[in-house]
């Protein structure tokens, strides 16, 4: 990137200021953590305002602020609208969150539920899917950090990515979920204000007419409401979002952490608040041709438009918004994935009688390990953000039906759940390469549904839900 909007010195200053802020908050908020429940689940006492903010801020990721513009740039009007359908995942998780809290009042992870509901093999299949997704998301977040710093300031991709990963690991390590949720509140305010300012300036400085005319001449397919790939993408993105939220421990750990009666309302309101953000963030990308911006890689389009429109001020704004969005998701993902590995792999497979101190120590070491592994995988920039992200769709969408049937139906059984996840993932991956990234989640979800229905029809299982509530979670059966 040659024509940088920010000098490297300003970029480093911003990185420093926000790094110190997040690290300080992590340390400060983490002082009151006394027990494992405090560290991993913020004492299970999170109220409505913080619960809503953390759900919204975590779902506004760098992918929302960076990949939504990319999808608008590649798939046009339907790209940004399709991305906003990711809100449906939060809305539909609202009733599930309430049910999860009832079924598993002392649970720690999504893995706890799958193990107790379906048994060991479905649990292991689920863990594999969860970990592939968690690493994919971590990598996409780390990559986004490097991309935005590079796009705006010309600072090397590796440097930006390293600093952002290190800061998020640092404050998650110090503060646990309490720090994650509290910083999410501040970050969500920054994100909403920043994105709205940017969209308003785009509209007032260029205007709809000029954007429309340029697109019609140079990129006509972006305005085409019958754009085939974009039409395929709509429900794919919706189901991808549903799969991400339904299976990921990021959302389950919050359901456990929220006060009784808060989860359902918090997820519903967060979904409504999140809905317009990708449309607003994506819209700015459509201004790129009108502004004569040459976009070297599609995932750089958002920062480039902001920088071009507002120069240094716009670049600083985008920098702060993306850094906040990145931090709010990275910390949540690190905390939730660490919980999953600690509870389901360390305690579940290797040290079933671990004490609370041993578990807390293991949890911290796992956060560092996750950060280092993500850093190593981010070093070679292997793909664009959207391509990497939607690769994960084949994995996560296969878990939707096993979870929904597992939560509500007695007849769903472990073997069927494991098979539906495996076959859904395999055929979803095939479709990713054979057709395109915009169908992988949809195909995976469809295959998984068919397998679940056949399995339920063939096997006459009768699960007793009370046995989950009565079980002692955190220990292998």
């Amino acid at each position: 990137m040659d024509s940088s909007f920010l000098s490297p010195n300003v970029a480093f200053l911003l990185l420093f200021v926000f790094s110190v802020l997040w690290l300080f908050l992590g340390w400060w908020l983490g002082r009151s953590n006394k027990t494992l429940d405090d560290y991993m689940l913020a004492g299970r006492k999170v109220g409505f305002a913080l619960a809503t903010a953390t759900a919204m801020a975590t779902w506004v990721t760098s992918n929302t602020t960076m990949a939504a513009p990319q999808l608008a740039y590649q798939l046009g009007v339907w790209g940004m609208i399709g991305y906003s359908l990711g809100a449906i995942g939060l809305l539909l998780f609202a009733p599930l969150a309430a049910r999860i809290k009832t079924l598993l009042p002392h649970g720690y992870t999504s893995g706890d539920f799958i193990r107790l509901r379906y048994g060991v093999w479905a649990w292991r299949t689920f863990l594999l899917i969860s970990l592939v997704y968690a690493f994919g998301w971590l990598i996409s977040l780390g990559m986004a950090g490097g991309v935005v710093v590079n796009a705006l300031s010309g600072v090397d991709y590796q440097i930006g990515m390293t600093v952002i990963l290190a800061v998020c690991v640092g404050y998650t390590l110090m503060g646990g979920l309490r720090a994650v949720i509290a910083t999410d509140f501040i970050q969500s305010l920054i994100i909403i204000v920043g994105v709205l300012v940017l969209a308003w300036i785009t509209i007032t400085q260029i205007g709809f007419d000029e954007i429309h005319v340029t697109l019609e001449q140079e990129r006509p397919a972006l305005l085409n409401l019958l754009f085939p790939a974009a039409i395929m993408f709509l429900f794919n993105n919706l189901l991808f979002g549903v799969g991400e939220i339904f299976h990921s421990n990021v959302w389950w750990s919050r359901a456990f952490a929220f006060k009784e009666g808060v989860g359902g309302k918090a997820y519903f309101v967060a979904g409504l608040m999140w809905l317009p953000i990708p449309v607003v963030a994506g819209f700015v990308a459509l201004a790129a041709p009108a502004l004569g911006i040459s976009v070297p890689a599609a995932d750089m389009v958002g920062p480039l438009v902001a920088g071009k429109l507002l120069g240094g001020v716009g670049a600083i704004l985008v920098f702060i918004v993306v850094f906040s969005a990145l931090a709010s998701s990275l910390d949540s993902l690190l905390a939730a994935t660490s919980d999953l590995i600690t509870e389901d792999i360390y305690k579940g497979h290797f040290n079933k009688n671990a004490t609370e101190q041993q578990t807390q120590k293991a949890s911290k070491m796992i956060i560092v390990g996750l950060g280092v592994t993500a850093w190593l995988l981010c070093l070679p920039k292997i793909s664009t953000l959207a391509s990497l992200l939607y690769f994960m769709g084949a994995f996560v969408a296969s878990a939707i039906w096993p979870i929904v049937f597992g939560i509500y139906f007695r007849r769903a059984n472990g073997m069927t759940a494991a098979l539906s996840m495996l076959l859904g993932t395999a055929i979803g991956l095939w479709s990713y390469f054979a057709i395109g990234f915009y169908v992988a989640a949809l195909v995976s979800c469809a295959v998984s549904l068919v397998v679940m229905l056949v399995g339920i029809g063939l096997m006459d299982a009768k699960f007793n839900f009370e046995q989950i509530a009565q079980s002692k979670t955190g220990q292998s059966q």
Partner: protein, 145 residues
């Protein structure tokens, strides 16, 4: 498994080089020779210290009435939003290239609308089933186990 999964992502489709280069100064490549969604990436092997690049797009190999973009000093360009057709590209140094790169041909052939709506309908059906299952069972679940 994870390594295999990410390794698959690194597979890059080959570019299509149509004609021999007028000069081998710049080698232009496209991320794919057949695009089914109207977007692809163009990249070249030179980075300029003092000159911007210019990229031309035309619908014929002769580059009659080309569309032209001044690109700055970056060595790649993300194209999107193209309708069905065959497009030709070449890159050179701004403002008047003494020599152009090789010519790259990319064919844009969107998926058929029939296929798109079939997949759309499948997605809509699954979504509808999901909403109905959750809403019906939510009421029952509220009454206990």
């Amino acid at each position: 498994m994870l390594a295999v999964a990410f390794g698959l992502l690194m597979v890059v489709s080959s570019s299509s080089v149509v004609s021999a280069a007028e000069t081998d100064a710049i080698t232009l490549q496209a991320s794919e020779s057949l695009s089914t969604a109207g977007y692809f990436n163009l990249s070249w092997d030179k980075s300029a210290q003092n000159h911007d690049f210019v990229l031309q797009q035309a619908s014929s190999r002769g580059f009659d009435s080309p569309v032209e973009w001044r690109l700055g000093k970056t060595a790649s360009f993300s194209m999107s939003g193209l309708e069905n057709g065959t497009y030709y590209y070449r890159v050179g140094y701004w403002p008047k290239p003494q020599a152009w790169s090789n010519v790259v041909q990319v064919q844009v052939q969107h998926h058929s609308l029939g296929k798109a709506f079939a997949i759309f309908s499948l997605g809509a059906l699954i979504f509808l089933v999901l909403v109905v299952v959750i809403l019906i069972n939510r009421k029952q679940a509220n009454r206990g186990f």
